[in-house]
Symmetry: C2
Amino acid sequence: MPELPPPRLDEIDALLLDLLQYDAGRTLHELGERVGLSPSAVQRRIARYRKDGLIAGQIAVLDPHRFGPTVLATVLVTLNQESFEHHRVFAERMRAEPQVQQCYRVAGPWDYVIVLAARSMRDCGRLGDRLFKADDNIRRYETLVAFDTIKTSLALPLPAPQSPPPQDRRP
Amino acid sequence: MPELPPPRLDEIDALLLDLLQYDAGRTLHELGERVGLSPSAVQRRIARYRKDGLIAGQIAVLDPHRFGPTVLATVLVTLNQESFEHHRVFAERMRAEPQVQQCYRVAGPWDYVIVLAARSMRDCGRLGDRLFKADDNIRRYETLVAFDTIKTSLALPLPAPQSPPPQDRRP
DNA sequence: CGTCGGGGCGCAATAATTTCGCGTGCCCGA
DNA sequence: TCGGGCACGCGAAATTATTGCGCCCCGACG
């Protein structure tokens, strides 16, 4: 699996990607206005981001609390058997479960950090039972139920541009 | 602030929202094909989701590891002073920091769970210093650096439809 | 039992947006 | 100094989104 080097990004690329990762609903015209390019130039750049895998996808973000009660929770998990195979099986189970929003394997006494989205406190409890209590390879887990959501996003802090900024060529 | 009741959703609504929260790049035609509606009907439904606040936004998801090295970490934080004002100030700081992807206030001995995105291990350390070590209202914090990302999303498990499914009226 | 809206649909015309070929200018290396 | 590659803007063409219209189904009410 060839790990390609990160593509060179100029200032406009960083600007565009940053605009897109906070609001992908804008037209090419509007994006072009903000970064100083024509719609077609913007379109060509975005096509390149897709081809290069910089943009992994485009999604609608739903508001959890407009769908009736929603319980978010963070779960810390430590496995029992740490073999490669056990990790693989666990990861696969997390990936397959729609109520698992996020899952990270981490350094330290805990092995995994997981973010769950449930429809009720009871659902949350049962989900924990099903995913972790019923798994006899899990030594210990701790559920941190969220009172409140301060912030959620998947936005990345973009690296500073490595290429000199091209000039604005619009009329 | 009037907390409106969650809108009634039929089976098609749930289907559409689920399609959109995993891929918002499809055309109305394609969406209509999948749920059994005409493009215009799909468009009207989506407009309603926006108006009702079910869809909070539409974003491009960037691939962290295509932008050179990226370090993700979860941080657990306990405040010193627990007054309302102290919480407000802390929350505001988290919201203002682009490298804070997510922040939840949680039950239990820890007060907050935070997900950070940094450009390097060193950046991650400095970010922690700046956000938490330099804040003398933070009693204790623990950083769980991610080795690996199993899954990231903001997708919600959608509630089962509360209204009977309308029939397919296409020719 | 019949009639009267309201809501949601498909269709089709219209508007907006995206896509793509073409010609141009700039930058860089030979 | 002279090409060659690259990215740009322009504008035509294709695709997609939007909106008005008439229809049908269903529930409410007489």
